[in-house]
């Protein structure tokens, strides 16, 4: 690459990064603005204030926000965990075994994934109310599984297919049972796939709004996206922009942290050296 070309690549990169990150930067800046500043149209706050954060963490909105944060974490982590375990077994079977109906399972999973969420919210609302799942953690975990499982199965089976079957056969010849071969050889090799899947599943659950707003009514199970929609200003003439921005920043943090932690693990390529490439 010539010097000139490289300069253009760098300039182009910077432009794209600014374009992508500008809205986020704006939200962060909003979250630090005192209420009179919010509509002033300037990027930087005229005076730096923690007021919005105080409001949602210790102030009036904390009753709404803190339980929601706890619910979101709990529900999403449980849903992600169950979804990972289930999809790991399902994907392993799909990648390894030849059984009738394999195509059907995969296409059904895909169909579920593209099915519009909003269309089943109302029936689910009625059903949940009748069987007592309305406004409970379990009442959200189950629909979240339906959101995360299809994509998890698809990603995970792609990863499993990448693992040479010889690995497992070698383990069996070496004296491993099927379960030992799976646990000691296949799972460690599929770890990047499991982490990738876990992160994707967590994001999907974390970002859900439709189920969160419809299937909950109190802070017993209401997740953060739904809680954000219920924020109110100090009076009905003040919009809660500042506190929403602060809450948005806070709920983005775990996502960023997750990606940073698992970034290295997501990088596929652990199978390098398993077989002659």
């Amino acid at each position: 690459m010539s010097r000139r070309e490289r300069t253009w690549w760098i300039v182009g990169g910077i432009v794209i990064v600014i374009y992508c990150l500008f809205p986020i930067a704006w939200i962060i800046s909003l979250s630090f603005k005192p209420p009179p500043d919010i509509a002033n149209g300037q990027f930087l706050p005229s005076s730096f204030s923690w007021e919005n954060y105080q409001l949602i963490l210790t102030g009036a909105a904390s009753d709404l926000f803190l339980p929601a944060l706890r619910n979101s974490f709990g529900i999403c982590l449980i849903a992600t965990f169950i979804s990972c375990i289930l999809s790991m077994f399902a994907a392993y079977a799909i990648a390894r075994l030849d059984f009738p109906g394999k195509k059907l399972i995969l296409s059904a999973a895909l169909a579920v994934a593209i099915f519009p969420v909003i269309s089943i919210v109302t029936p689910l609302f009625n059903l949940w109310r009748q069987i007592g799942l309305y406004d409970t953690w379990l009442g959200l975990i189950i629909p979240y599984l339906s959101l995360t499982l299809p994509i998890s199965i698809w990603t995970m089976s792609a990863f499993f297919r990448e693992i040479p079957w010889e690995m497992e056969q070698a383990a069996q010849v070496d004296g491993a049972t099927t379960w030992q071969a799976f646990r000691k050889v296949i799972v460690p090799l599929a770890a990047p796939g499991v982490f990738t899947t876990a992160i994707i599943a967590f994001f999907i659950a974390w970002n859900d709004f439709a189920y969160g707003i419809s299937l909950t009514s109190t802070s017993a199970a209401r997740p953060v996206p739904a809680a954000l929609g219920l924020f109110t200003g100090a009076s009905q003439f003040v919009s809660p922009t500042g506190s929403i921005a602060a809450a948005a920043v806070i709920v983005t943090i775990p996502v960023v942290v997750l990606v940073l932690i698992f970034q290295r693990r997501i990088v596929a390529g652990l199978t390098n050296g398993a077989v002659k490439g």
Binding site: Q169, A170, Q172, V173, A176, T177, P188, T271, N272, A274
Partner: protein, 418 residues
């Protein structure tokens, strides 16, 4: 250590295609058996049936006197080296080699001792803490072998273990495997399509074609007394030349002049019209370089040389010839089956490297007619095979093996057997 017996083994796939068809083979304790054949002949399938990774449709697989058809791979106590090595990339070399021991719940100090012994044999000591990804092809190959020899398996199974290495390394590893097998004296089954490996490694070689055994014999017997056209064409490089011939009394008329047959062989081919004569390249020679004393043992002919290849220690000449249509198609089918594509009917002739025979010129050749074989062109059967001489060659090879195993037992011990 154990013998492996196969009784009428059949492998049929879902669509009814028999990948292995009625194979019966006895592999003696400590023997080095090669399964060889062109791609798709069922040799790998057979190996995988021995180790248990492939179900057996019918027949009996008996290892060490026990029928193992229904046993899982882990209960058969065999070790296998895969074509792509199948090392565990998330473990160090040490843990890779130790894996079978760990599964068997071997105590830690015992594991350490045996892995170190295996590493000694394979010279892997400085690599024990590395991951497979950081090793070269030859080192990975050695790790795979280390994993195989670290426990006392009944037998070693190799599935084309050298086909991923470059030519030079392949030669080194070949002698390494041979030395290791002799030293440990363990029954070994080795699948390959490379006939150099087949000829140099095996005590006996089993030639397979379309799932059926063609011939099981020592390399020498295969080379000198092949049972049919297929074995004759498969073993030997460059391959045996097949010339069309018509019989007139005791004399075969070929495109390269006539060949006189001795009484015994003449009797064997009597009464047939069209025949195929199989002549190995080294039975030919540049006539001007042949001793006067040897000349009467063969016949002379003149032919135009198409191409010569000088390789330093040897030299090959290509001589085109005309053949009847039926023979040409049959030879083409055969060569296709042997994974090569013979475009023209030509004989490959090995001549002395000092010979000055030139391309495009006519030259005089001498042909040693004592060792030629005559084949039936329709069935492919070798009409002039001397079964007794062949059996004698295999018996001698077997005696050599028994002696070597005795020596190994007296001297070296298996890795890990304290």
């Amino acid at each position: 250590m154990a013998s492996i017996e196969m009784r009428h083994i059949v492998k049929q796939y879902g669509d009814g295609f028999p990948a292995v068809n009625d194979v019966s083979l006895d592999i003696a304790d400590g023997e080095f058996m090669i399964l060889v054949g062109p791609s798709g002949c069922g040799k790998s399938t057979l190996l995988r049936m021995i180790v248990g990774l492939e179900d057996i449709t019918s027949g009996d697989m008996i290892i060490g006197g026990v029928r193992v058809n229904d046993k899982a791979p882990r209960d058969r106590n065999l070790s296998m080296v895969f074509q792509n090595y199948a090392l565990y990339p998330h473990m160090t070399v040490f843990e890779n080699i130790a894996f079978p021991l760990r599964l068997a719940k071997t105590p830690d100090d015992e594991v350490r001792r045996r892995v170190n012994e295996a590493a000694d044999v394979l010279e892997l000591h400085e690599h024990l803490e590395r991951k497979p990804a950081n090793l070269s092809g030859g080192q990975r190959q050695r790790v795979a072998m280390g994993r195989a020899i670290v426990r006392q398996a009944e037998a070693f199974l190799f599935d084309e273990p050298l086909s991923n290495l470059d030519a030079k390394l392949r030669g080194q590893m070949r002698t390494e495997i041979s030395r290791l097998q002799r030293r440990l004296g363990i029954t070994t089954v080795y699948v390959t399509h490379d006939q150099t490996e087949a000829m140099t490694l095996g005590d006996r070689v089993c030639v397979l074609r379309k799932g059926k055994i063609q011939q099981v014999a020592s390399p020498r017997e295969l080379y000198e007394q092949p049972v049919n056209l297929f074995v004759a064409g498969f073993i030997g490089s460059p391959p045996m030349n097949f010339l069309p011939a018509t019989l007139q009394g005791n004399r075969l008329e070929t495109p390269f002049g006539h060949i006189d047959l001795d009484e015994k062989r003449a009797a064997a081919v009597k009464g047939r019209e069209l025949l195929l004569v199989g002549i190995r390249p080294e039975y030919f020679e540049d006539a001007s370089l042949v001793d006067e004393a040897k000349r009467p043992l063969g016949s002379m002919f003149r032919a135009r040389v198409d191409v010569t290849e000088w390789l330093g220690d040897s030299q090959y000449a290509y001589i085109p010839y005309e053949a009847p249509e039926a023979i040409t198609t049959q030879l083409r089918d055969l060569s296709r089956e042997l994974d090569s594509e013979e475009l023209r009917t030509q004989a490959i002739v090995s001549i002395d490297s000092t010979s000055r025979i030139r391309e495009g010129r006519e030259a005089e050749f001498w042909l040693d007619s004592r060792k030629v074989h005559v084949f039936d062109p329709t069935t492919g059967e070798n009409l002039t095979r001397d079964a007794e001489a062949g059996a004698e060659l295999t018996r001698m090879a077997n005696q050599d093996r028994v002696d070597q195993v005795e020596d190994a037992k007296a001297g070296a011990r298996t890795v890990g057997a304290a």
